[in-house]
């Protein structure tokens, strides 16, 4: 690195965007190609300021759209260096074509996705509709629940993405505004330690290696397409092992422990919620309070690793509870929510047969409070004691108007 080093305090007060930007800077990213969009804009703005002040050796390409941003990342990544970008919501929707191309072409890219609702109606606040839009795109997807975690996850994303057994792009998620714009204490690594942890980029089939010209982005039809997609899926499935190894190495370095499935209160929980993002942090507060005040044993489970989906670990976490609410922060579009589907799928072949409900909540940044979560835990407790779901399987919670609920299979 020829660039200036930044003297960081042991504890910095950073929001989630600054956490991303600092991780990019310390990872010595070669090319950032990006386009601004709320609420991820500051990730790119901070980085551009680092660049303007001589802290960055790489280049910043401010493209004319998010599609072009990811196209530039793929071209630059294929050329043979470290690339990263950030986006949200509509920007992610615009780049979705290239997400599939990046993963299919096995180009390591780190994308900081600051989760935000998808229009219409237009909304700048946090929900998980953009995160869910990436579900089948073939990317590793990890979730941070706080600015500290955003820093840690983004830093580790480079390691995961560029790992020779993976070579797949990685999304580092965080909640729009709740995490991206909430300044909290963050314990960063110093520049040298972070740089050493991320390591040097290893070229694989680089366009800029003229000794060995390669053809990237070929056509395959029915004779070879399936084999390519099968290999890609196998590599993605194999990424879980690599993620665990990198989490373990990071713990050695920082003392901060991450698991592919995070949980709280599950040692003695009778009922549990499953959620993503900052709701997990709110749930910890709610769990402590309700245990103390009402003596109900409740817990929360959150897949830290969203893709590849840690099915075995999720199933293991949920073996002893009697009732589960899967909380999906995205309009489900005419079916049950993603977490409901995946959690139910994880449990269906196991001995545990808890009641599983699906709560749609928090759309467009609608707050999910400690009080709101306590209500959910109380209802789960009642259902568990009654041995059946009260009412329908899917309910929309925290929304004005008459209760909206759907699906009922009792009596089949």
């Amino acid at each position: 690195m020829n660039s200036r080093k930044m003297e960081l305090n042991k504890v910095e007060v950073w929001d989630g965007n600054m956490a991303n930007s600092q991780a990019f800077r310390q990872a010595d990213v070669d090319v950032v190609a990006a386009y601004p969009i709320t609420p991820s804009t500051a990730t790119v703005e901070n980085y551009a300021m680092f660049h303007a002040n001589g802290y960055i050796d790489g280049e910043v390409i401010m493209t004319e759209s998010e599609h072009a941003a990811m196209s530039g990342c793929i071209g630059a990544g294929a050329a043979g260096g470290r690339v990263a970008t950030a986006t949200s919501s509509q920007g992610l929707a615009l780049m979705i074509e290239t997400l599939y191309q990046a993963s299919g072409m096995r180009i390591p890219v780190v994308l900081c996705l600051v989760n935000r609702a998808l229009a219409a109606p237009l909304n700048v606040n946090g929900d998980h509709s953009d995160l869910y839009l990436t579900r089948d795109a073939g990317w590793v997807s990890i979730d941070a629940f706080s600015p500290q975690q955003a820093y840690d996850m983004t830093l580790m994303s480079f390691r995961i993405s560029e790992h020779l057994d993976v070579r797949l792009p990685v999304i580092s998620n965080q909640d729009g505004f709740m995490t991206s714009h909430t300044a909290q204490n963050v314990h960063p690594l110093d520049d040298d330690t972070a740089s050493k942890f991320v390591g040097e980029y290893k070229q694989v089939n680089a366009l800029l290696n003229f000794e060995k010209p390669v053809t990237h982005g070929v056509q395959t039809e029915q004779d070879w397409h399936f084999e390519h997609k099968a290999k890609q899926h196998a590599a993605l499935m194999g990424a879980k092992k690599v993620v665990k190894e990198i989490f373990a190495e990071f713990k050695e370095l920082t003392g901060r422990e991450y698991k592919v499935v995070e949980s709280y209160g599950m040692e003695d929980a009778e009922v549990a919620i499953v959620c993503l993002g900052s709701t997990y942090e709110t749930a910890i507060v709610a769990i402590d309070e309700i245990k103390k005040e009402e003596g109900i044993n409740v817990g929360v489970v959150a897949p830290r690793l969203f893709r590849p989906f840690p099915l075995e670990e999720v199933a293991a976490e949920l073996q002893t509870v009697k009732a589960i609410a899967c909380m999906d922060r995205s309009a489900p579009g005419g079916t049950v929510g993603t977490l409901y589907n995946e959690i139910s799928g994880a449990l269906i072949n196991t001995p545990a047969r808890p009641l599983v409900t699906n709560l749609i909540y928090g759309l467009g940044g609608r707050d999910m409070t400690v009080a709101g979560l306590k209500d959910i835990f109380r209802q789960l407790d009642k259902d568990a004691k009654a041995g059946k779901i009260s009412g329908n399987i899917q309910k929309l919670v925290g929304v004005r108007g008459p209760e909206l609920s759907f699906y009922n299979v009792q009596g089949l």
Binding site: D57, A68, A78, V214, T215
Partner: protein, 322 residues
């Protein structure tokens, strides 16, 4: 216009040019008589430097990179329909960074970064991406293989399709003479970006073309080349007529050959000794055959007037250097 340090390749005659070390192999699936392969060879053979090539989805891409085969003996990338420009811009930027960081072999001259796209991906779906790359000033060459139609998908109109041409989405019929709109003037649009070098070329005028490509390679900044690519399949002439039809195109001045430097200085680079009537160019291609019906003949007259006026305009611009 600033020039790059360049190892200009000497090209003596057509024989030595056509038998130069080839980084685009003869084995591919393009139609017999397709001008794309001629253009690509002329571009690639114009330099001995290392090459990074990008192609948009289209005839060139689907016919040259079908796994497990490739026709490319140089670094090559395809992402999608609209983004060959940005793919190459990303690679070019990465090269700049790796060179600065001392991670490139410093003995070698800088590679050339070339993106190819058809008129569909250039005039239409990829236009924004190209515009972005040119505004940002990447050191790259964009070559449009202009066959005036979405040929890869079976002959749908693009905004390069000329008036009166029959395409599958704007067909000639009992109530229509086919395409109603005039071809978009992409060369002027790209020159208006302030590109240091913009040129229109035709593969049959290979000396003119290779001169422009070499000038483009020697130019710092984004260079745009609009290459006429006569399409045997969609223009519907016989596969052995490609060069003849291309000659009619340039000699009728339907495809005038010229260059624009720094968005200002326009030079006409080919003046036909005998200008051929536009009617002869149209008559050689069954995509225009309905224009020769009595009720449509007026369109041929309009064509001729339009081409005359355009030629007049280009000459005036050349004269006043504006």
């Amino acid at each position: 216009m600033s020039t790059l340090q360049n190892t200009q390749k000497e090209i003596k005659n057509l024989k030595s040019f056509s038998t130069a070390a080839e980084r685009f192999e003869g084995s591919h699936l393009l139609c017999p008589g397709c001008a794309h392969s001629i253009i690509v060879r002329e571009v690639l053979n114009a330099t001995n430097d290392n090459l990074v090539v990008a192609a948009s989805t289209g005839c060139l891409e689907v016919c040259t990179a079908i796994y497990p085969h490739t026709s490319w003996d140089c670094s090559w990338i395809h992402i999608g329909f609209e983004n060959s420009s940005t793919a190459i811009a990303g690679a070019e930027t990465m090269h700049k960074v790796l060179k600065r960081k001392g991670r490139m072999n410093s003995d070698e001259p800088d590679p050339k970064f070339v993106a190819f796209g058809g008129d569909g991906s250039t005039y239409d779906i990829g236009f924004q991406w190209i515009s972005g790359c040119f505004e940002r000033g990447h050191n790259m060459m964009y070559v449009c293989l202009d066959n005036e139609v979405y040929a890869n998908t079976g002959g749908q109109r693009s905004s390069s399709t000329p008036i009166g041409s029959s395409t599958t989405t704007a067909p000639a019929g009992s109530h229509s003479y086919g395409e109603k709109r005039q071809k978009k003037d992409i060369v002027s649009i790209m020159a208006a970006h302030g590109s240091p070098y913009v040129a229109q070329v035709a593969p049959n005028k290979w000396k003119d073309m290779v001169k422009k490509i070499q000038r483009g390679f020697a130019t710092e900044g984004p260079v745009f080349i609009n290459a006429m690519s006569a399409c045997t399949t969609e223009w519907k002439f016989a596969p052995n007529q490609t060069i003849e039809v291309s000659d009619l195109a340039v000699d009728s001045l339907v495809f005038p050959l010229y260059e624009i430097i720094d968005g200002k200085e326009l030079n006409i680079t080919y003046r036909p000794k005998n200008v051929v009537p536009v009617r002869d160019y149209l008559g050689a291609q069954p995509r225009f055959k309905h224009l020769f019906k009595p009720e449509n003949e007026y369109l041929i007259d309009e064509w001729q007037k339009r081409i005359d006026a355009r030629w007049e305009f280009l000459q005036k611009r050349e004269e006043i250097k504006l």
